[in-house]
């Protein structure tokens, strides 16, 4: 049985707590939070506290607070044994001598949405190699997708996620806008969008690229550019078409 303490009571803390409750071999022996109110949801299920001096001894402390609160919280954990892991995507392991691990779920959580934790990638890092096994055991108790990712890799992963998530969503938003302008229900594209994502995750997206740019079909490209009257969209069409052509070069 791995005994852990969760620090924080926000979205990440709540989703992790829920996932650990169904995990074998893991017991959340305590949840800490500065304010009492947010602890209400945990009270009936485990011991809670608002006082860091009352923290129990655990094998792993999971720090689930906002990035700018991590350092202060961790400094107060300095007398504890056990692994201290934060759950942030952007704070490097080197940020503080007392952080000795990262336990980062690569996903945005909202309170309302139910989460299938088995599918959520957990990116792990420890400063001491000996700590990795235990952290990995904890991660595998709730997720099927556990990865060893260094701070440097995590930084690049965050950048890659901007393309994979934010920028692809902007492509969908432009498609939505073009539909709206022409009174076509955006719903017509739903299946195509879901199919595109499925295909990209089952294959190498580069290998399954299709469309006029991929075929270097200049007649269609010209026709499309003539139809676009938004200056941003026109520039985006040109640049992405060229980038797809260059990627094959």
């Amino acid at each position: 049985m791995i005994k852990i303490v969760i620090l924080g009571a926000g979205n990440v803390a709540s989703h992790l707590f829920k996932a650990f409750q169904t995990a074998e071999n893991v017991e959340v022996i305590q949840v800490y939070n500065r304010s009492k109110i947010a602890l209400e949801n945990f009270k009936s299920k485990t011991q809670t506290t608002t006082d860091l001096a009352e923290l129990k001894n655990a094998e792993i402390y999971l720090v689930c607070v906002k990035d700018d609160a991590i350092e202060e919280m961790i400094s107060k954990l300095s007398q504890k044994d056990g692994i201290v892991a934060h759950t942030s995507g952007s704070v490097p392991l080197s940020a503080s001598a007392k952080i000795n691990a990262v336990f980062y779920p690569l996903q945005t959580f909202s309170k309302q949405t139910e989460v299938n934790f088995k599918e959520i990638p957990l990116c792990l890092e420890t400063s001491e190699e000996k700590d990795f096994d235990l952290l990995e055991k904890l991660a595998k108790s709730i997720s099927d997708k556990v990865f060893a990712i260094s701070s440097e890799q995590r930084k690049k992963l965050h950048l890659a996620a901007v393309f994979a998530n934010n920028f692809s969503n902007h492509m969908f938003a432009i498609a939505e806008d073009l539909c709206k302008q022409n009174e076509v229900p955006f719903e017509v594209l739903s299946t195509l969008i879901k199919e595109t994502a499925q295909k990209a995750t089952r294959n190498s997206p580069k290998e399954v690229q299709t469309g006029p740019a991929k075929r270097n079909d200049q007649a269609t490209i010209k026709q499309h550019l003539a139809q676009l009257n938004n200056a941003d969209y026109k520039e985006i069409y040109k640049l992405l078409t060229q980038s797809i052509i260059n990627q094959d070069g």
Copy 2:
């Protein structure tokens, strides 16, 4: 019972034929194809022919041949009564006087992949209003997503699909490349990619946009640009960031 004839024996014809076989109230009474070999798969299930002079009388003729072969085929159907519909995304209804309808499945088919036709949007158009009901009945027998789309709208839809499919896939390909460069398994991003597509189809993608551009978080944007050493990727990052900022303006 709607009696139809399918002309062509390629991917679109095969997938439609299969879908109609499980549909009530539809009977494919014949499949025509120029060459005999491709008709082998249909022979045991319906009447087949390689001779246009032998075409049976049907209520609807579905022309499932390549774009540049549509006109010739349709000219040979000129003595037939019944609706003549092509299945192309890019040929307008006005292209030939003998085309009087469009029955366009908005999806790319490959021979290997099983298709859930219920989810595939069918875009319908008829030159005579009186023909629409029958075509719609045929479409609804195999798909839950049936839309009336004019030739002009279909043109814009094709453009929108370039953003929603080809360009979003290029974003995934760039993310894949950034992962590869940094020895991060691209698989880490799989769940995020699928989640992004799900979210964009359940909501307005514009409304659910997130990321540094959306927050106008210039510190992160600068950091990201400094990390990108591919000139295309850098330009794309800048342009899309600006476009997301402009969309809010």
